[in-house]
């Protein structure tokens, strides 16, 4: 808006009841993103039509790509008599318009509150002929908006789809060879392309799930395709139990029941549960894991990327050493960014998220062991709480790292915000930011240094031209 944020007088009051400027969205949104990452998949929200519209517009503002989400469009009557009829009609209409390979259904606060029995409803639908030859596969996930965040919805959807689609017994020939499952968490389209490239370079087929690298970052086309190409193939989702191992990215996920833990418990697929590979150390762990599970040596090109990155770290150290940073956003992205900051000599002072996994503090501690001063870690907080904390504790950051949602907070503090993660709707190309790997770290590092240099140059009365 045209006016700067108004100065609010602070009174010490630690535990606010309401959420004031949230650092999280609701669970079904994350689930729809997962469903969009399946080949031929159409996301479907069981609830009010407004949910689909709001989530579409939100995801679209980040990806700048079309994102169709269907809905059962509840009316007052459906809240009383149940939404079975709407669901059936909705599934039929999506099938006739889109001819999808799969419809991925997520519930909402409305349908969870009235207690819709999705298993029963879908069973009935299938029994009544929804299982004809070209009928799409149906998967569903419970995502009541009053529980968890968009990231929880995302991870729950990954697990639900894997659980419901994992096939026992014989597999198509393409999946009798050795292959990997990679569950990357909520990362960018560019990150997904990176992970597929790594698997390729290690010479092992990989099922990356979800995979919206093409469905939400696709090409122009003269003839429009309602369902864009790309996405994790349905066959691959049936074959996940036959994988040699699952690699799951995200330290805060380790305590949770996830797709990887399910496959390990049920099908004895070893689960490698590691951090999001942001920065050198976390990326080293990732490549080590890849070497171990594939038995193949580290491809030369990544070793070269690592070499260049370390060289840059040394060259850039003087600009970033001791700089204080606030990191916020989705939990695993926060952990990754904190790890990167800690290893380049910056001081993360506040690591905060709207998510509340219970594992953020522990994860941050693990990636900041060599920091003298431990950062403040705040789970389940909103932006006003962060701002109050920053003011009361006189955190005085030099810069911030996080999503577009922190722009006003950064502006009020008068510090630059380096945009990473989700959502990014006030900069261009959020879906193409590479966060992962040595090359991702290189890009982030360059951006951090350049942001600090620009600040220094612009605020200097002398006028530097060599920095």
């Amino acid at each position: 808006m045209s006016s700067p944020a108004r100065k609010i007088k602070l009174e010490a009051k630690p535990n606010w009841v309401s959420t004031r400027n949230p650092c999280k969205a609701c669970a079904p949104m994350g689930a729809t993103l997962v469903m969009r990452g399946i080949e031929g998949g159409v996301p479907f929200l069981h609830g009010s039509q407004g949910c689909a519209t709001y989530m579409r517009r939100y995801l679209i503002s980040h990806f700048r790509e079309p994102m169709d989400i269907a809905t059962s469009g509840f009316s007052e009557a459906s809240t009383i008599f149940g939404g079975g009829a709407n669901l059936r009609q909705g599934l039929q209409n999506v099938t006739s318009q889109y001819k999808p390979g799969l419809i991925g259904i997520a519930t909402t606060c409305l349908t969870e509150t009235i207690g819709e029995d999705m298993n029963l409803l879908l069973h009935e639908y299938r029994a009544k002929g929804g299982q004809a030859e070209n009928a799409p596969e149906l998967v569903h996930v419970a995502t009541p908006s009053y529980r968890g965040t968009h990231v929880d919805g995302f991870n729950d959807a990954v697990r639900a789809v894997v659980e419901q689609m994992a096939a026992e017994g014989a597999l198509p020939s393409a999946y009798t060879q050795s292959f990997l499952n990679i569950f990357p968490g909520m990362v960018s389209a560019e990150d997904l392309r990176f992970l597929k490239e790594v698997a390729d370079d290690f010479g092992i087929p990989a099922t990356v799930f979800p995979d919206y690298s093409e469905t939400l970052d696709g090409p122009s086309m003269l003839k429009y395709k309602k369902i864009p190409e790309g996405g994790t193939p349905l066959l691959a989702l049936h074959a996940t139990p036959a994988a040699r191992a699952s690699i799951e990215l995200g330290r805060t996920l380790r305590q949770k029941k996830t797709a990887a833990s399910f496959l390990q418990e049920r099908f004895l697929v070893p689960a490698k549960r590691i951090g999001l590979p942001v920065g050198v150390e976390e990326t080293d762990v990732f490549f080590n894991t890849m070497e171990k599970v594939t038995g193949a040596p580290m491809p030369e090109k990544y070793a070269a990327q690592r070499g260049r990155l370390i060289d840059a770290y040394v060259d850039g150290h003087k600009y970033v050493f001791g700089k204080r940073a606030i990191v916020f956003g989705d939990e695993d992205m926060v952990v990754g960014m904190t790890s990167l900051l800690a290893e380049i000599g910056a001081q993360p002072i506040l690591c905060a998220s709207g998510g509340k996994s219970g594992a953020l503090a522990k994860s941050i501690a693990e990636v900041t062991t060599h920091l003298k001063e431990a950062p403040l870690v705040r789970e389940g907080v909103d932006f006003m709480t962060m701002a109050e904390e920053a003011e009361m504790k006189e955190l005085k950051p030099d810069f911030m790292i996080g999503s577009s949602k922190g722009a006003k907070f950064a502006r009020a503090l008068g510090v630059p915000l380096i945009r990473v993660g989700f959502p990014i709707h006030d900069r261009f190309g959020g879906q193409r930011i590479l966060h992962l790997g040595y090359r991702g770290a290189q890009q982030l590092f360059d951006q951090i240094i350049n942001t600090l240099l620009e600040l220094k140059q612009d605020s200097s009365p002398i006028g530097y031209s060599y920095l």
């Binding site: 045209s2 009841v17 519209t53 059962s72 529980r147």
Partner: protein
């Protein structure tokens, strides 16, 4: 381009099952003016069938996001799980301009009760009350509005009772809205609910008098991209005092003071006509549909104000302003027209813009191939004369109709019924009327209500218009095909487009968009060469 719109209509709906096909065939019409300028009947404001990907929003979005949200010092608290508040946080581009930095502006804030599982099970009223108390303590607002999301109605939280109780306790105005998302056909239901609430709880509470001679309210203008600023500036230059807007750049006090105006001007008929009607019944303020989109439309609207106030000095000032501004517009319009003539446009947006913006395209020689509203009703298409024949369905019955009677003290008809009649007879003015979109459209043009994603995809394939006007949800699919999409909800973060200055902005933006060359890049050279080679071989 000679595509028969009737064939297109059949093509759009042919994949639907029979019942749905029948319903959609009534929502898609081809314009054809009959005797006395009659237009075909269209089915509108009916529920979108499940599984059809609509661009419509929900009741909450219309109430909180559209009507109440733009008011900068009414503090909004969304009662519900976090999503609804998050998705409606600064997503509309209603600009606001507080007089000083110290003046409150709550638009930047997003407050939610962020309901958790235990609130769903045990009720959320206690949490809502606590949220109101802390918001009151933190912001010290004059007024707090509470918005219900889907689960609130289901678990039986009574936001109105909470509002009454806390209003008493805190001594500030607090009011609630039962705008649960599932309640209506679209955001339109939310507009109506917001109109009712603001009329019951805000209008008439501020008696500050104004010495100015000519006083109006501008209703249904949300100051997207600064349109409202342009309109207020124009009115001020003409010597007309804008008492309030509903609700772009508005404050609680100006809305509470609206009943002191002598005329209500309506921009977006769909979202605000209810308040205009109620204000006329209670306070005697007539209302008039005007349109500040397009230079000629703006001139016409300003002249009507001169006629209404029957003041020669005012009329003279209005003519001066029009002459001064039209001169600036005409040069640019002609230059742009030379580059845009013959190009084609489609508009699918809102409840008024798909109508208002057609004129801007005509100004620069462009042809409108198809248009439609996202959440309009029959009267927005066919004109208010059809109101007596509009069917009232269960969804409409759901929304309270307030019984309004003249205020015993403050009812003061600004013009007698006879005078209004005379004015209507003598001038082009019509009071309490909106002619609708279709009577002003060329024959044989497609009008489609609640265009679905599937229909929009097919329409683009068949026509490949030079520009498609819609919102962010459609934008990137359209642009994938190399066709530029102009967002008429957010103006693509540009604008303003209202008034004379806005028309110039719009002409320039459209010129840039319809003349861009990206479409020629869609086919890469190797594919083009291959095609040529195939062609040569075939020859």
């Amino acid at each position: 381009m000679s595509i028969d719109p009737r064939v297109v209509k059949d093509e759009l709906i042919q994949i639907y099952p029979k019942k749905l096909r029948q319903k959609r065939s009534e929502q898609i019409v081809v314009t054809q003016k009959g005797e006395g300028g009659s237009v075909p009947e269209i089915k509108a404001n009916v529920r979108t069938s499940p599984g059809i990907i609509t661009q419509r929003g929900c009741t909450y979005a219309g109430c909180k996001g559209v009507v109440i949200g733009p008011s900068r010092d009414i503090l909004s608290i969304t009662h519900g799980p976090i999503g609804c508040a998050f998705y409606s946080w600064l997503t509309r581009r209603n600009q606001t301009r507080p007089a000083t930095l110290e003046d409150p502006n709550y638009i930047n804030y997003c407050l939610s009760t962020d309901m958790q599982e235990e609130n769903i099970v045990f009720g959320g009223e206690k949490k809502l009350k606590a949220a109101i108390r802390e918001a009151a303590q933190l912001f010290k607002p004059k007024a707090i509005a509470l918005f219900s999301t889907c689960p609130v109605g289901l678990i039986g939280d009574d936001v109105h009772a909470v509002a009454r109780e806390l209003k008493e306790e805190l001594g500030i105005n607090i009011f609630g809205f039962s705008c649960e998302g599932y309640r209506g056909v679209s955001q339109s239901a939310g507009h109506h609910i917001a109109n009712n609430g603001v009329f019951k709880n805000v209008v008439g509470l501020n008696e500050t008098p104004h010495p100015e001679k000519f006083k109006v309210n501008v209703l249904g203008e949300y100051n997207i991209g600064g349109d409202g600023f342009v309109i207020e500036e124009l009115l001020t230059r003409c010597g007309i005092k804008q008492i309030s807007t509903f609700s772009g750049n508005s404050t609680y006090d100006t809305m509470a003071n609206a009943h002191t105006a002598d005329l209500n001007l309506i921009m977006c008929h769909r979202s605000i006509n209810y308040v205009a009607e109620m204000m006329e019944k209670r306070f005697g303020i007539p209302w008039m549909k005007i349109n500040f989109i397009g230079a000629d439309a703006t001139a016409k609207s300003l002249r009507r104000l001169g006629e209404y106030f029957e003041d020669d000095a005012l009329k003279a000032r209005i003519e001066e302003v029009i002459a001064e501004e039209q001169e600036k517009v005409s040069g640019i319009r002609e230059a742009v027209k030379a580059r845009c003539t013959g190009k084609t446009a489609m508009l699918f947006v809102g409840g008024s813009r798909a109508h208002h913006y057609q004129q801007l395209f005509k100004d620069i020689g462009m042809k409108v191939l198809a248009a439609g509203y996202e959440f309009g009703h029959r009267d927005d298409y066919e004109g208010r004369k059809v109101l007596p024949t509009v069917k009232v369905d269960a969804d409409s019955k759901n929304i309270e109709e307030i019984d309004v009677v003249p205020d015993p003290v403050r009812f003061r008809p600004r013009r007698t019924a006879e005078r209004i009649e005379q004015m209507e007879a003598m001038t082009e003015m019509e009071f309490r009327d909106y002619v609708g979109m279709m009577p002003e459209m060329d024959d044989d043009t497609l009008v489609i209500d609640d265009l679905s994603q599937h229909e929009s995809d097919r329409l683009l394939e068949m026509y490949r218009p030079d520009i498609f006007c819609a919102g962010i949800k459609e934008k990137f699919g359209v642009q994938k095909m190399g066709i530029p999409c102009k967002q008429l909800h957010s103006y693509d973060y540009g604008g303003p487009y209202a008034g004379f200055r806005g028309a110039i902005n719009f002409y320039k933006d459209i010129d840039r968009m319809v003349n861009m060359k990206y479409a020629s890049f869609l086919t890469p050279p190797w594919a083009a060469q291959e095609k040529e080679a195939q062609q040569a071989a075939a020859d």
